[in-house]
């Protein structure tokens, strides 16, 4: 540690910043697509019909019960080649993060929706609203408020997990860290730098989420 080589960090700073933008972009795309998909999975899993519920239950089982790295390899090397060639690793990371977070988001949505008092839906139905209208105008707006903290945590998890993309050469933060290690044969500077960037991103997000939570709480 006596001779910390700042020059490596300075050399690689443009790549790290570019990587950070990719990390943010991939996680953001992952969580947004995950939210859309997750809502449908949550609704499917709440179906009164067992046979309708079944595929959604197993979707969630699969994506929560297998390692993300295995999912990434399956998607990158097995699934994506069916759709594109050559496979873009960024697309693979986004697809994996979306599908994976959808399973977690679905459970967050379901818990949020089921936490709303049954009387709310009953009152709305008694006024002539159909199921979709009740969901959209009465249940979801109230559930959403309660879902902000767990959704925020999911986003932070996703942001960290996107570092797995380095293994399939998606040029995000960790990828550039590994590249710097390869070029200079030094481990401390690049990996510490990578860790610091992730820390800055997750701490800023935590701060932003706390702020949002407070805003919504006082509304």
């Amino acid at each position: 540690m006596m001779d910390f080589r700042w020059d490596i960090i300075i050399d690689y700073l443009p790549f790290f910043l570019q990587g950070a933008l990719r990390t943010i972009g991939m996680s953001l795309a992952g969580v947004l697509l995950g939210c859309i998909l997750g809502l449908f999975i949550a609704l499917g899993k709440m179906s009164p019909l067992f046979i309708v519920r079944l595929p959604f239950v197993w979707y969630i089982n699969f994506f929560r019960g297998t390692p993300l790295l295995v999912q990434l390899f399956l998607i990158h090397f097995a699934v994506m080649p069916l759709f594109m060639s050559p496979v873009n690793p960024i697309a693979s990371v986004i697809a994996t993060l979306s599908l994976n977070s959808a399973a977690y988001v679905a459970e967050i949505f379901r818990a949020g929706i089921q936490s709303i008092d049954k009387g709310q839906a009953e009152a709305a139905h008694s006024l002539g609203m159909n199921k979709i209208q009740v969901m959209r105008h009465v249940i979801l707006p109230q559930a959403f408020k309660r879902m902000i903290p767990p959704l925020g945590n999911e986003f932070i998890t996703l942001l960290k997990d996107s570092s797995l993309g380095a293994i399939i050469a998606a040029p995000e933060i960790f990828y550039w860290g590994r590249a710097a290690v390869g070029e200079y044969y030094r481990v401390w500077e690049p990996y510490l730098m990578v860790a610091v960037i992730y820390l800055i991103l997750t701490l800023s997000l935590t701060y932003l989420l706390n702020y949002l939570e407070r805003r919504f709480a006082t509304e």
């Binding site: 008092d117 009387g119 709310q120 009953e122 009152a123 709305a124 139905h125 008694s126 006024l127 002539g128 609203m129 159909n130 209208q133 105008h137 009465v138 707006p141 109230q142 408020k145």
Partner: protein, 240 residues
């Protein structure tokens, strides 16, 4: 107006409504009384299919609402319901609580809905509360908003499930007053309540339920003054 034929309702193995038949005439005010757990709420909730019926039929204006081909949402527009726990939408203002179903279900435009909603708020004496959220209202005020909200759909029947049971005693009067006014205007009403004064004064008929059956029904004076059935007598002796 409402015709119930051999209505039965079970929750799993528990049979809550065993065989209920009753005819309710237009403009009639029917008060339902009975011990806790006798099935009063369940009966009321079967009248707008908030509970699905196990067996029997319910006709609203001649339409069999147990028929799968009937659009139950259309029927519910005609049948307003007021709950013990108010069930106002906490994320909407008082005004929005009333206009939401108008615009979502009836597809009225904003201005139309707002005008109608303000008129209803004036009717229940809460026009000055239009823009506050339900959280800041007292129980009595909440229930009056809930009544206004149900009236907004222009229902032909109103169902009340113990509308004053969750209220502090000093607020019961203001809610009953609104209900009396409604009855005077000729609204058909089915009211589950423990307010015997209201039953006497406003009710055209009192129905006594116990253990899933209608045990006895009659004009208020007759039920309270001269109950025929022993179970009615013992129930009334406990609460009067």
């Amino acid at each position: 107006m409402i015709s119930v034929k051999n209505l039965k309702k079970s929750f799993g193995a528990l049979e809550v409504l065993k065989d209920i038949s009753i005819e309710i005439e237009p403009k009639e005010v029917v008060v339902v009384i009975g011990p806790s757990g006798s099935g009063k709420s369940t009966f009321l909730r079967c009248l707008n299919q908030i509970e699905t019926i196990t067996d029997g039929h319910v006709y609203i204006e001649g339409v069999d609402i147990t028929d799968k081909k009937v659009d139950i949402n259309k029927v519910r527009e005609e049948v307003g319901m007021v709950f013990q726990q108010f069930n106002l939408f906490p994320h909407k203002t008082v005004l929005e609580n009333i206009t939401l179903p108008m615009s979502v279900v009836r597809k009225w435009n904003k201005q139309e809905a707002k005008t109608k909603a303000i008129a209803l708020l004036e009717k229940v004496g809460l026009a000055d509360k239009a823009d506050v959220y339900p959280d800041s209202l007292s129980g009595g005020q909440k229930q009056r908003v809930a009544i206004a909200r149900a009236l907004g759909m222009g229902p032909k029947v109103m169902l009340f499930d113990e509308p004053t049971s969750a209220l502090d005693p000093e607020m019961v009067g203001e809610v009953l007053e609104v209900m009396k006014q409604l009855a005077k205007e000729g609204m058909t009403m089915v009211v589950v309540t423990h307010e015997m004064g209201f039953a006497r004064e406003v009710g055209d008929r009192v129905v006594f339920m116990d253990e899933g059956y209608i045990i006895e029904e009659n004009e208020p004076e007759a039920i309270f003054g001269n109950p025929q059935h022993e179970r009615t007598q013992s129930f009334l002796s406990k609460i009067l």
